[in-house]
């Protein structure tokens, strides 16, 4: 069992290193977020699986599973909130940025400056 736990720990460290290198080397906020969210969450999940296998008691398995589920549920939410905020503040993208599929409805950007009054309502 020690071999399995050691393998999971090293694999988790490797994916965390991949996430950190991606955050350092990617050219853009949005691509950096892509690296940090997915690889970082995967590395943490691998290390937690290794700890659960090593300890093996019911309590540690439940806590590790709860942490993995929570991490995988909240990491996309945090990344989406951050990306939306960056887009509304019009953070520049890498390269030309010709294709912008959510530019079309202008309300999306205007909305960040305060809620618009609904037509027909006070």
């Amino acid at each position: 069992m020690n071999w399995v736990a050691a393998f999971f720990v090293i694999a988790g460290g490797f994916f965390s290193l991949v996430a950190a290198i991606g955050v350092l080397r990617m050219p853009d906020l949005y691509t950096r977020m892509h690296a940090a969210t997915k690889a970082g969450a995967f590395g943490a999940a691998l290390v937690l699986v290794g700890a659960a296998l090593h300890f093996g008691s019911l309590r540690t398995v439940v806590v590790a599973a709860a942490t993995i589920v929570f991490f995988y549920l909240t990491a996309p939410v945090a990344a989406q909130v951050l990306a939306r905020a960056a887009y509304r503040r019009q953070l520049p993208t890498w390269g030309d940025g010709r294709i912008d599929e959510i530019r079309e409805p202008r309300d999306f950007v205007e909305e960040s400056r305060g809620p618009k009054p609904e037509p027909g309502e006070e």
Binding site: N2, W3, A5, A6, F7, V9, I10, G12, G13, F14, S16, L17, A19, A20, I21, V23, L24, L29, R32, M33, A36, T37, G40, A41, G43, A44, V47, L48, G50, A51, H54, F55, S57, R59, T60, V63, A64, A66, T67, F70, F71, T74, A75, V77, A78, A79, V81, L82, R84, A85, A86, R88, R89, L91, S112
Partner: protein, 96 residues
């Protein structure tokens, strides 16, 4: 379990994994210092909270303390709330 002459497999794994984690934390710190905008720093902070979670689990493995897994769960909650709070603040205003 381990007698004279046998390698402590988990110890070696913890050393290698901990080294990888320390390098990752250093690299994330570089992005926090450099990051052109505040959003980049928040992304690096988000990654750093995940790395701290992993470090906490490694410490629990090394010291044989399963209690530190609870600390890892608490770090996950705090990191998520911090990231969302920073994102909401930067969306409304604040220095870009």
């Amino acid at each position: 379990m381990s007698f004279e002459g046998e390698i402590n497999v988990l110890g070696v794994g913890l050393a290698v994994g901990g080294g990888l984690y320390l390098i990752s934390i250093a690299i994330a710190m570089v992005r926090i210092v450099r990051g052109p905008s505040s959003f980049d720093r928040v992304v690096a902070f988000d990654l750093l909270s995940g790395l701290t979670l992993g470090i906490m689990v490694l410490l629990g493995l090394g010291f044989g303390q399963p209690v530190l897994l609870d600390a890892a769960l608490a770090i996950a909650v705090a990191g998520f709330l911090g990231t969302v709070a920073f994102a909401r603040y930067l969306e409304r205003g604040g220095s870009r």
